[in-house]
Point group: C2
Chain length 307, copies 2
């Protein structure tokens, strides 16, 4: 099965209470692709970087079997740069700067060899660009999209047009509430379904994730991490683990979507254990399988009615 990922590639500078890293690899499509690459390869990546994008980053992506035919390199431009600082409470962060650079005029061009792709994951980019991607490809089996409050506020009408084309929307708790103006997450999820996606996945960070389909509600716990070094990219790693598992198994039944949510949670839980994408430098598939099984035990109880 083939998987196309479109989104940003970035050079990040990140401060957390546990340290600071400068000019490290970031971007939504990067986290999504690397996480998905544990399940299906090659991953077809479409994005844009500048001439300053390190050869080491290219090498890292290639080693994880990411196909870079769709990566545009603007030699005389600079890569999208983001700087952020997390508070002692890691749920709170300040964006220090956002320099879009070459990403500002990103036009996703899908190479001919990518036009027949079974699974598509649209990272958090302008909803107009998300649609432009879909216009260039043959109807895929499943389209997963991410978004963020920036587009909910700034391009709401465009976002709603894009939502009609998505099978799955992955978004976080506050975004789900904002997009629907509905504080109750179950009602918000159903309202989002009325906007298009038939599968809604709500990421709740330390509270796990919620899945709603027409026939199922599923609640996945969060992995009980005591040491979170860097939350950056966790949501994208979630999306990558989610769509990676689905592409690997080519099974979009509710039962398998539940497993995909747990694989998403698993990849996100590894992601935050180190800065940037560092945890994926030595993460093995076996570790992923072990943690997947730990997730089961986290919410398992003996439902005998009398003890």
């Amino acid at each position: 099965m083939s998987l196309l990922v479109v989104g940003s590639l970035a050079i990040d500078t990140i401060e957390t209470p546990f340290g600071k890293v400068e000019n490290v690899l970031g971007g939504s499509s990067t986290y999504i692709s690397i996480a998905a690459s544990y399940f299906v390869t090659p991953i077809r990546l479409v994005g844009v970087v500048g001439g300053d994008f390190s050869k080491d980053y290219i090498k890292f992506l290639e080693e994880r079997d990411i196909d870079l035919e769709g990566l545009q390199i603007v030699k005389d431009g600079k890569t999208f740069r983001w700087g952020g600082r997390y508070h002692f409470d890691l749920n709170v962060r300040d964006t220090l700067y956002t320099d879009l650079n070459v990403f500002e005029h990103f036009n996703p061009i899908i190479p001919d060899s990518y036009k027949k792709t079974t699974y598509v994951c649209l990272g958090n980019i302008d909803p107009i660009l998300q649609r432009r991607v879909l216009e260039q490809i043959q109807k895929p089996r499943l389209v997963v999209g991410d978004t963020m409050n920036f587009w909910i506020k700034g391009k709401n009408a465009e976002l709603k047009k894009t939502l009609k084309l998505l099978d799955v929307i992955i978004l976080n708790e506050s975004e789900a509430r904002e997009i629907t103006n509905e504080p109750n997450l179950i009602r918000a999820s159903k309202a989002i379904m009325n906007l298009g996606p038939r599968i809604v996945v709500i990421k709740k960070g330390e509270h796990g994730a919620l899945l709603l389909t027409a026939n199922t509600i599923f609640s996945a716990p969060a992995y009980p991490l005591e040491n979170i070094y860097d939350p950056t990219g966790a949501g994208d790693a979630f999306a990558g683990g989610f769509i990676g598992w689905i592409a690997k198994t080519d099974d979009i039944s509710d039962e398998n979507i539940k497993r995909a949510v747990v694989y998403g949670s698993t990849l996100a839980s590894f992601c935050v254990e180190r800065f940037s994408l560092d945890r994926f430098k030595d993460l093995s598939y076996l570790e992923i399988l072990d943690r997947f099984r730990e997730f089961r035990d986290l919410s398992k109880f003996d439902d005998t009615l009398t003890s």
Copy 2:
């Protein structure tokens, strides 16, 4: 098995986006007792009310087999009264008034017939009074205590003395963080264990509940309610379902404590479906068992490694 519940009884006035009720039954010991009464009876209640406490409330408690020998009735006093208004986002509420009345000088006197009690649940009252209860009784098998930010801020040293005497502390997410000054809930739970309780239960409202013991971490989902009419008392109904199940089964193994967390979640989920304690007027044990089983399905996934 016997269960002693100590806490407030109140007359509440509650506004939510779905309506308003005036002068309805409230109070922590009330919710705890009523919820626990589905599992074990009679419940031994210790609390105080004024001469204005309606005979209908007495009758309702007696019908649920609550033993009122320990209920002090101050004929010429007024019952504790609380008024609150919930916002469109039910997670936000304003306290409109708190008239302590006879509750201000509440001195929990444990009747002789209650002094040998297997299980004790201390509702949210002054930590000094919680200790005074424990001083009057023979060592019970398990002591569960609740608290709130008011005592964490205002009587921190006294609260810490009380924590040393508790086996189980039930508290909500923000309280767990506040008591330990630790935003990570897993680390906060472990820090609370160092203060005394060997079992920590963190209520997370719409995100479910978290249980930590020396050997177990358990994550219970929330029941996916679309219509929450009145969140008042949900935390106390949780505590009542939790300790009620433990008292019924007389089993304090980790596995059974997990089930107790799910029964607590079950009773809390019913509680919020109507105003005040109204849902318990016709709730049957069979409905509780059905919902308990639904909780299992909510977080269940087939962990086959390939589909």
